[in-house]
């Protein structure tokens, strides 16, 4: 017997703002962010955890929005690409992606930027192997990854110069 799913009231902090939403159990975090909140910077590619384009930060850690039920994120802190730049000023990672030409079609870029941001918070001066490990779940069909690697290294060295 299939029981009737019921909506659940969910409180989420997204990019610093608190939202109260009634969501169905089967709604994923990326669906809620895109369809309910309008944060279309969260890109859903494969929908099965293989491309990384739906990556968002939950409690500061990168996770896949397509494989996380929204109801499992109750009272969690969620960050998307829209919450990165403040008053039009890009973050060092965004700036480095721009300067190094690591952005082409842009579909993978939000996920790449967020995963790189989490990496640099954890490892301010990462090796190339650590960058590869952090970005291994992100597919890009435009840049060939070299520019992205350069951008993350550039962001790390820019931040080190400022320290």
């Amino acid at each position: 017997m299939r029981t009737k799913p019921s909506k659940r009231l969910l409180e989420l902090t997204i990019n610093g703002e608190t939202y109260e939403l009634a969501v169905e159990p089967q709604e994923t975090l990326s669906e809620v962010l895109r369809n309910r909140i309008g944060l279309t910077g969260v890109k859903e590619g494969c929908g099965t955890g293989e491309c990384g384009s739906c990556t968002v930060l939950v409690e500061g850690e990168p996770v896949l929005g397509c494989l996380l039920l929204a109801v499992e994120c109750e009272r969690k802190r969620v960050e998307t690409i829209e919450g990165q730049a403040e008053e039009g000023v890009l973050t060092p990672v965004q700036q480095a992606f721009l300067e190094k030409g690591a952005v082409q079609c842009g579909f993978c870029t939000p996920g790449m930027v967020l995963a790189s941001t989490a990496l640099l918070k954890r490892r301010p001066n990462p090796s190339e192997e650590e960058i590869q490990e952090a970005l291994e779940g992100h597919l890009c069909r435009c840049t060939g990854y070299n520019k992205i690697m350069e951008a993350v290294l550039h962001a790390a060295s820019s931040a080190a110069d400022k320290r």
């Binding site: 099965t48 955890g49 995963a115």
Partner: protein, 332 residues
């Protein structure tokens, strides 16, 4: 790609979760990390009526008991296992294996018990069947195998990276539910049947994993063969754990487990027997690696031929054994 509709419960105790699972009127499935379950639901090859989330139960940090056993919560994420100082010190083989599962995004959510309980995989089964295939295969309730059309059974393989490592370490699992509070050898969890790979019932929860201390001096290695590194299921994986007594050159205990080539992780018992007692030498390691490839019957899968996997298994076994011995002898 959307999920089908289902009901959702988030119990706050193991007892409540067990009781929900035993309600026969509703087809329920446990939801831990969901990184294996949710794609199968999106593909339409798993269709539970209700998901019972384990997120409400909380997670205990890894701890070491006075007798040396390492206790892990079944709901620990793979990232937390891979990065835990307690695991790195007491079971570095497990930390290495957990760190090789999928990607950091997945490891941040996927759980250790979930990784041990993942379903078997097949190139044909793990796809959307609605537009690609018509005939249901064994795994979907039919009597047909796309991989071997004349075959009489399912040929899907079990892919976990952490299972071979934990089997080498002699891990036990704490089972709640129909086996109420039982402590089982991890090896006994696997049936060897692709259709029903686990021996525990669907109303059972793995609440913890207990890893006994390694005796003597240990050398270990975990190898996972993928063509592109990064995020891929393994063509094969192999975990090796060697122990020595006072003489670092002589093996007192050997464990070799191979994964991703059959419906369950496989111990290479004859090869282990070759290693025990004998002083390590290049000739012995080569013979042991050859023996691994001979005694482990591989199922060709995901485009890898049987010939390739058998040859690759010998090469990976030799690499892993050499690395483990180098740890014991300091590279001598």
């Amino acid at each position: 790609m959307y999920l089908p509709r289902f009901a959702f419960e988030k119990p706050t105790s193991l007892k409540e979760a067990s009781s929900l699972l035993t309600e026969k009127a509703v087809k329920s499935t446990l939801l831990a990390g969901g990184t294996d379950l949710l794609p199968r639901m999106k593909y339409g090859v798993a269709d539970p009526e209700r998901l019972i989330s384990l997120k409400g139960l909380g997670v205990s940090a890894p701890k070491v008991l006075p007798e040396g056993d390492l206790i892990l919560d079944g709901a620990s994420t793979l990232a937390s296992v891979a990065l835990s100082p307690e695991v790195a010190e007491n079971a570095p083989l497990l930390a290495a294996a957990a760190g090789r599962v999928a990607t950091r995004e997945i490891r941040n959510v996927a759980t250790l018990a979930g990784n041990l309980c993942q379903d078997t995989r097949c190139l044909y089964f793990n796809q959307r069947h609605t537009f690609q295939f018509v005939e249901p295969c064994f795994k979907r309730g039919g009597d047909f195998c796309y991989f071997i059309p004349k075959g009489k059974k399912c040929w899907a393989v079990y892919m976990s990276d952490t299972a071979p490592a934990l089997i080498c370490l002699g891990a036990k699992i704490q089972v709640e539910g129909d086996g109420a509070g039982a402590l089982l050898d991890l090896e006994a969890l696997y049936s060897g049947d692709s259709l029903h790979p686990l021996t525990i019932g669907s109303d059972t929860i793995i609440s913890g994993i207990r890893v006994p201390p390694t005796g003597g001096t240990r050398g270990w290695a975990f190898s996972k063969l993928t063509l592109r590194e990064g995020m891929e299921f393994g063509a094969l994986n192999i975990a090796v754990l060697l122990e020595t007594g006072k003489d670092p050159g002589t093996c007192t205990r050997a464990r070799i487990a191979v994964g991703a080539v059959s419906p369950a992780p496989v111990r290479a018992l004859k090869s282990e027997g070759l290693l025990v007692g004998g002083p390590f030498s290049p000739a012995l390691l080569a013979e042991a690696a050859r023996q691994v490839a001979e005694e482990v019957t591989v199922i060709p899968h995901h485009g890898y031929s049987k010939w390739y996997l058998t040859r690759a298994l010998e090469v990976e076994a030799l690499n892993a054994l050499t690395r483990a011995v180098n740890q014991l002898t300091g590279g001598r």
